[in-house]
Symmetry: C2
Subunit: 351 residues, 2 copies
DNA sequence: GCCAAGCTCTGTATCGGTCGAGATGGCTGT
DNA sequence: ACAGCCATCTCGACCGATACAGAGCTTGGC
């Protein structure tokens, strides 16, 4: 039989409450008695109050649930995700709170079960499309949900549209007119290949929708109709998927003079595809990513920088201490277009 | 007021137990009643039994604690760690169990608190030196602890010594005599630089101790005394730290003909250091890593392959369903020396 | 026609703590 | 001497569920 508070209380000859106080409120009893109690506990092999029982009574789970779409291996392969998680972990640690990973491999009954059965004080959602049933389940829990998308009243994100609009304008200034966009979650079956996206607004994935919108607007302002832009679906957010998707753009004739991607990981894949074809980034084909992960700098890649670490931190703070003022419950962080060597003027005679 | 089982029970006019059964044991009541109950729950906004209360009564937390030494950002930067975690997550998911991350930034009171207060059914320890107080705290909890080191009765690992001995023998066959070893956790202050390790057995870090032992034994068998081997401490397990440590070896005169590292991440850093000096891996300097992460293959690096994914899976299984037979509670997985282009004969006249 | 066996559902104890009000007793101030 | 106060400890209710024994009613076999 495992020792409980009562076991220790009986041993020392005090009440259960007092033993509880010895752990949770040291100021509520004399230091001598506290020492005596802790000694007895050590002797009995009692290692402190049962976390579950404590949670039940105090109403605090002591953990934040982290909702992922993708498989763990993919999610943590993206340095952006890792940075985000790190910011979150920092804040969590400062608040004596743990992180409970809830990977949503599929949007099936098992995932719903996992969401419903997670002992957490709230959820941080990392790139889960809004149509997932698991999101509803998280909502139904009646605990705070911090999103990077538009769902929910707690939100931390960036102005996605303005960010890619700036990137698009950069391309326009450079004279590009034949452009391909590589993005995840833009085809229903999530396969690699060219897809037609007549209505950007209709996309279910918040991130892809917004980022494509920004590009579309920038192109439109320069007189380039959306129907002239090649949209290519990637089957996942990884370098490999980016390269595979880029192939569908680069092997066309005439070749696009610029290939942009919705994440750096995909864009790095595009660079890989260029290299495999002996094409020079920024000369033969311009490339733009999104996130500004360390590898982007190393690859001299033009991209949009967003504060991943800070985003994680704020997500944690929003969750653990939701502001009363609704205006403060939605945080929009600044981004910055980082121009590097992967973008350059459209090759002469390309139009 | 949030709805509880009782709220739903009152609404439908059944007992609390029956509502509980509707969720947890569908076979214990008629399908019609169950439907009625679930409908009422939906109507009341009740999203299922409170996870914490359920855990308390049933004695199952529904989560595995994952203990890390390093900062989250580092831990997840290592593909080996991610693979391990992925294997663990797989098994956890199959058992309707979550993963609670418990990063041990420092070995301080806060970390102890986190370990003691984690609502988990057991801990999986990932590369935490045995001297950490947090390990004791985990032990004291009286729940299963799966280690990759020698501590605890539940263990999943590899024969570290035999693995590096094989790598060492490979070097000996190639004729190397001037050798440097880059390792983490071999200096008390964990700084970068050459350190003297007179007694390998005295090292506190299990992994470094074992891996160095294997090399030492292989060298000794070929007549190369340990005192002739240069041991260099890396300040952390990353490519950058590996490169910094390698500098201390490569800038010596005479230069070592081989630099081995205790992890692939460190070894990749060594390769970076070679490149920075226009030295050719496998020709001017041979390099060996450990783990066989994907980047190792891409870098044509000789290394020891260990089954990271499988290791994670087995850790999960050992934890969730500890075998009765003590012999089955310690699993040793096979490793394999993968020879690639980063190792070659010692340069002529190097002795 | 009768008793054992099933199927459903109920009732009570219990999981292991924390919470808030209140009891106790020594000390101070007047 | 007495009220008031602080520091210290106790008491009983409660957090929200699950476990287990058993009650009531229908079946089925002989």
């Amino acid at each position: 039989m495992k020792p409980t508070l009562q076991t220790v209380a009986d041993r020392v000859g005090v009440s259960r409450s007092t033993v509880s106080n010895a752990y949770s409120r040291p100021d509520q009893l004399s230091p001598e008695l506290r020492e005596k109690i802790l000694d007895a506990a050590r002797e009995l092999g009692y290692s402190g109050p049962n976390p579950t029982a404590r949670s039940l009574r105090s109403g605090r789970a002591g953990a934040i649930g982290v909702l992922f779409t993708t498989a763990l291996s993919i999610a943590f392969t993206d340095p952006y995700a890792v940075q985000f998680l790190r910011g979150l972990a920092e804040v969590a640690e400062d608040n004596r709170t743990g992180l409970l990973l809830v990977p949503l491999r599929d949007d099936d009954e098992g995932a719903l079960e996992a969401v419903r059965n997670a002992a957490v004080d709230g959820f941080v959602v990392y790139c889960v499309p809004g149509w997932y049933k698991a999101m509803e389940a998280a909502w139904a829990r009646g605990i705070p949900v911090v999103n990077s998308d538009h769902f929910g009243s707690l939100f931390v994100g960036i102005d996605e549209i303005a960010s890619t609009r700036a990137a698009g304008e950069h391309l326009m200034r450079l004279g590009h007119r034949r452009i391909a966009i590589v993005a995840d979650y833009i085809s229903p079956d999530r396969r690699t290949g060219e897809v037609s996206v007549p209505s950007v607004e209709g996309l279910g994935s918040y991130v892809s929708r917004e980022r494509l919108t920004g590009y579309r607007d920038a192109f439109a302002a320069a007189g380039l109709p959306w129907s002239d832009v090649i949209t290519i679906s990637a089957a996942g957010n990884s370098r490999e998927h980016g390269a595979a998707a880029a192939a569908h753009a680069l092997d066309r004739s005439p070749r696009p003079t610029a290939v942009v991607a919705t994440t750096d990981l995909l864009a790095l894949g595009v660079l890989d595809a260029l290299a495999a074809r002996d094409l020079r980034p920024g000369r033969d084909v311009s490339v733009i990513g999104f996130d500004d992960i360390p590898d982007a700098a190393q690859a001299h890649m033009t991209t949009v920088r967003q504060p991943a670490l800070e985003r994680g931190r704020i997500a944690g703070r929003l969750l653990l201490d939701p502001p009363d003022d609704p205006a403060d419950r939605r945080v929009v962080l600044p981004t910055e277009l980082v121009v590097r060597a992967s973008t350059g003027p459209a090759p002469a005679g390309s139009n």
